[in-house]
């Protein structure tokens, strides 16, 4: 008890000394540092709250597994898309690049039959897959068509306006004037 009163006294003397220098404002609380060498109040020791955690096994897409602690009750998590098969983490992997590889030639066959988006205005030919001659003819046509595409490539937008009409000669490029 004696310790406590002595502390109070020091606090009081500090405020008294400040009042001698500066007149205390009525609303301003006294700012004294209270040294808590003995606290009379009791502080509740709160138990820290932590959610329940399980051990979970994560299986990545390449079959590698690891365990981690999680709140989810599922025992295993199988991921289909992760760092092992994402292009951002494997920039040099050709397998993940969006390059269309046409090994079986099916894509080329489809294109030869139905054409691309921008050669709809070329007349379609009757295609008989059994007829070898027709296929050859078609190939020749595709070649010619490819040549035409080379010309057309820079003014693809014109196709929209000239859809269904006869092919108009591409407008000449005007040199820039200064």
């Amino acid at each position: 008890m004696s310790m406590h009163t002595s502390l109070r006294r020091t606090a009081a003397t500090i405020t008294n000394s400040t009042t001698t220098i500066l007149p205390r404002l009525p609303t301003q609380p006294t700012a004294t540092t209270f040294i808590c060498s003995q606290c009379r109040h009791a502080t509740l020791l709160r138990r820290p709250k932590r959610p329940y955690t399980f051990t979970q096994l994560i299986t990545l897409s390449d079959g590698s597994t690891f365990t981690h602690r999680t709140t989810s009750p599922a025992p295993i998590y199988r991921s289909t898309r992760d760092t092992r098969n994402s292009l951002l983490w494997n920039p040099s992997s050709s397998k993940l690049m969006n390059v269309e590889d046409d090994e079986a030639g099916r894509l080329a066959a489809f294109r030869a039959r139905f054409g691309r988006g921008y050669d709809v205005n070329t007349p379609a030919e009757p295609v008989d897959p059994k007829d070898a001659a027709a296929v050859k003819e078609k190939e020749a046509a595709a070649k010619a068509q490819a040549d035409a595409e080379q010309e057309e490539e820079d003014n693809l937008l014109d196709l929209i306006s000239s859809f269904g009409q006869n092919e108009a000669p591409p407008p000449e490029k005007k040199p820039f004037k200064k």
Binding site: R50, T55, P75
Partner: protein
């Protein structure tokens, strides 16, 4: 701009040959040359006076070699110590009674098959967690939280197996099709084929350790790939060339930084003198650069450095193959794991 200032620096260093200290390498001398002229001038006079008095004869020179410490980082997590396993297990059981209880109805709706299955399993294992064995932290026997001798519950493999069995039984219990048995593939083993056969040339061995590439010269001694630095070549370029010339180009490697991580000096029994330059060669110093292998495999068939064999070894195995002196110089730059 930068080349111009470099050129200027070189000119300055040429004009002031007096501060060249034989104990300081060329790039360091350039760095020292960057100091202000005022501070450099008195230092220059000091060094000339001391070097003149102490070394009356020309010191024999060392040949500088660049070495490569090519390593494969650990691929899997390490094996836990028995103490760690017991510690983690005990902490998990402590956590059972200290964490908030599992909120079942946030995850399983009442009356669903998943809920029924969960209830059945809780009766069986008496707790929500699957990897701590049969233990309920709230019943009268909660004090009995220590494992008996020979119990498997603290083994990580056993815990993973429990998880997988639980997932399988849940899948079987909740699916409509009772005839089909769900089989979940087990994780790959931590010990590979190469470990069993002790194939020291395989990169698949000792997955939880760092492996280092060691090559054997035609004379029969083992070392890290190394070769003399040619004139006009930086240490890093020399290291890259060494790697390509010794272990082939069929590797995707990454050199870690431009600085050596360690060095070794080789002093032959007697100093030889080089015939062309008439400079006495005291020995050779090898400066090791760190490198990581990402893909590929070493291939000595086209090497031009008189090598006949290679091995991928962990740190402990290195000490059996290397010369004691060599190993004591390099061991501190190798990773513990």
């Amino acid at each position: 701009m930068s080349s111009g200032s470099n050129g200027a620096r070189r000119m300055v260093s040429l004009l002031r040959p007096s501060i060249v200290d034989p104990g300081v390498c060329r790039s360091c001398q350039e760095t020292l040359g960057r100091r202000s002229y005022a501070s450099a001038a008195p230092a220059a006079t000091e060094t000339t006076s001391t070097s003149a008095s102490t070394t009356p004869v020309v010191k024999p020179a060392y040949t500088i070699n660049a070495g490569v410490v090519l390593s494969r980082p650990p691929q899997i997590t390490r094996d836990l110590e028995p103490f760690e396993k017991s510690y983690y297990f005990y902490q998990k059981r402590l956590n059972e009674r200290l964490a908030l209880p599992f909120t079942k109805y946030f995850y399983f709706k009442r009356g669903t098959p998943a809920d029924e299955d969960w209830k059945k399993k809780i009766l069986e294992r008496r707790t929500a967690a699957r990897d701590i064995g049969k233990y309920n932290a709230y019943d009268s026997e909660a004090w009995n939280d220590e494992l008996l001798l020979g119990a498997k519950e603290s083994e990580p493999e056993h815990q993973v197996e429990m998880l997988l069995q639980d997932a399988e039984s849940t899948a079987n219990a909740t699916s409509q099709d009772t005839s089909k048995k769900e089989e979940i593939p087990r994780p790959f083993p931590r010990v590979t084929e190469a470990d069993k056969k002790n194939d020291q040339k395989s990169l698949d061995r000792l997955l939880s350790r760092t492996l280092y590439l060691l090559v054997q010269s035609k004379e029969g001694h083992w070392k890290f790939p190394s070769s003399p630095v040619e004139s006009g070549e930086t240490l890093r370029l020399a290291a890259e060339r060494t790697l390509a010339q010794s272990a082939g180009v069929n590797m995707n490697t990454w050199m870690v930084g431009y600085h050596p991580v360690g060095w070794h000096a080789y002093n032959p029994p007697r100093a030889k003198s080089d015939k062309q330059t008439e400079v006495e060669v005291a020995g050779s110093k090898i400066f090791f650069l760190k490198s990581r292998i990402m893909a590929g495999q070493a291939d000595l068939s086209v090497n031009t450095q008189n090598l006949k064999d290679f091995k991928w070894l962990s740190k402990e195995e290195l000490s059996k193959y290397l010369n004691t002196q060599y190993y004591s110089n390099i061991k501190n730059m190798l990773a513990d794991r």
